[in-house]
């Protein structure tokens, strides 16, 4: 029997790709705006991150096959087996998140979620800049959230560096370019690409995420 043909199948849908690059840009801008005390910009950058995270979490349940968390999360045995295969200097055969990549996505999303959430409740020491939900907590609690916002960023930074190191490892050692598919959405593979979902789910999910973002920015007061 002839081997299956290699095609440039679609492996990442547009929402996944947009969220990925937008998050990278916004996290950078959130850091930059905080460092340069552009707090109004910092807040809006944070709200945008919130919207993207809410969107991505929802999309992980209703989106295309490779976006779904259910398809990504594998048993410990599979993760172990995949880990053992990392020494091979060949690209992986799979489509979508590999077992270890899936763990890193979860870790990164949780870390970004923690970053945004702590910011929402943070209180500063000057009485000038506090998060939109900080009136829900006491001064002491708000100061704790501010400290956690700081700590959370350090953790996020470590995860981002690990992520970049992993991408480079795949590129240089395993000869597997993972960057191009995250831009074009396509990858050379013998297997089938992703399974799409009805298009209406996209605007609905965007609307829900947008509503959440707007509501939070108003201090969750109607």
């Amino acid at each position: 029997m002839a081997p299956p043909p290699v095609t440039r199948a679609v492996v990442w849908d547009i929402p996944v790709r947009v969220v990925h690059w937008a998050l990278a840009a916004l996290l950078g801008f959130s850091w930059y705006s905080a460092e340069n005390e552009m707090m109004e910009w910092h807040r809006w950058s944070g709200y945008a991150v919130l919207g993207l995270v809410v969107f991505r979490l929802l999309w992980g349940f209703v989106g295309s096959s490779t976006a779904r968390f259910a398809n990504s999360l594998r048993s410990p045995a599979e993760i172990w087996r995949y880990g053992a295969s990392l020494g091979r200097r060949t690209p992986g055969a799979g489509v979508g998140h590999n077992p270890i990549g899936a763990l890193s996505v979860i870790a990164l999303l949780l870390s970004v979620a923690a970053q945004v959430t702590t910011g929402l409740f943070a209180v500063d020491v000057d009485g000038l800049e506090s998060g939109p939900l900080s009136d829900r907590v006491s001064f002491e609690q708000g100061r704790w959230f501010a400290d956690m916002h700081d700590l959370s960023f350090s953790i996020l930074l470590v995860l981002v560096v690990l992520h970049l190191v992993a991408i480079l490892f795949y590129l240089l050692y395993k000869r597997d370019n993972l960057i191009a598919p995250m831009i074009t959405g396509r990858r050379r593979t013998t297997g089938p690409g992703l399974t799409r979902v009805p298009l209406w789910r996209l605007p609905v999910t965007i609307l829900i995420a947008g509503a959440a973002m707007w509501f939070v920015s108003r201090g969750m007061q109607l």
């Binding site: 209180v123 000038l128 506090s130 006491s138 001064f139 002491e140 100061r143």
Partner: protein
């Protein structure tokens, strides 16, 4: 016999801890702890004011006393930093050494903050919500001005 040993061990632990606690309260430590408490009071009071002003219909009467507390605590600042209660004391403090090396500037910024706090008390007695918010911002800026030069961290 065993009971006596256990009781003796427990007693010495308690006495040792009590002695340690007694030892910890050097004048510098007491001053540091006291001023941290007073600044936290300012923070809590200012947060109460800001939270109220954030509302669509601020009830300013609720926070007049908070504003007065800020002004009162700020007036204590010049007594909160006795010599030797800075970083050189070895005790953890966010006070920068400049509080003592640039004392004139420190006291000037404190006086400016007191003035802003007094203005906030006045504004809260009026009816102009926009003016209250503007004055709260002014006070915040005067807090920030001092923190930038005389407080480390954050």
């Amino acid at each position: 016999m065993r009971t006596i040993i256990i009781l003796a061990g427990g007693a010495s632990l308690v006495l040792g801890a009590a002695a340690a606690v007694g030892q910890g309260q050097s004048p510098a430590a007491t001053a540091i702890k006291a001023r941290q408490e007073q600044f936290r009071e300012i923070g809590t009071a200012f947060k109460a004011v800001n939270d109220e002003l954030r509302k669509s219909a601020p009830g300013k009467f609720a926070v007049g006393s908070s504003a007065r507390q800020i002004a009162g605590n700020l007036r204590q600042v010049k007594t909160m930093f006795p010599t030797g209660s800075g970083p050189s004391s070895g005790i953890k403090t966010k006070a920068s050494a400049t509080v003592w090396t640039k004392q004139a500037e420190f006291l000037r910024l404190n006086a400016a903050a007191i003035a802003e706090a007094d203005k906030l008390v006045l504004a809260l007695r009026g009816a102009d919500t926009a003016a209250m918010k503007a004055q709260a911002q002014s006070l915040g800026r005067s807090c920030k001005a001092c923190h930038t030069s005389f407080r480390v961290g954050d």
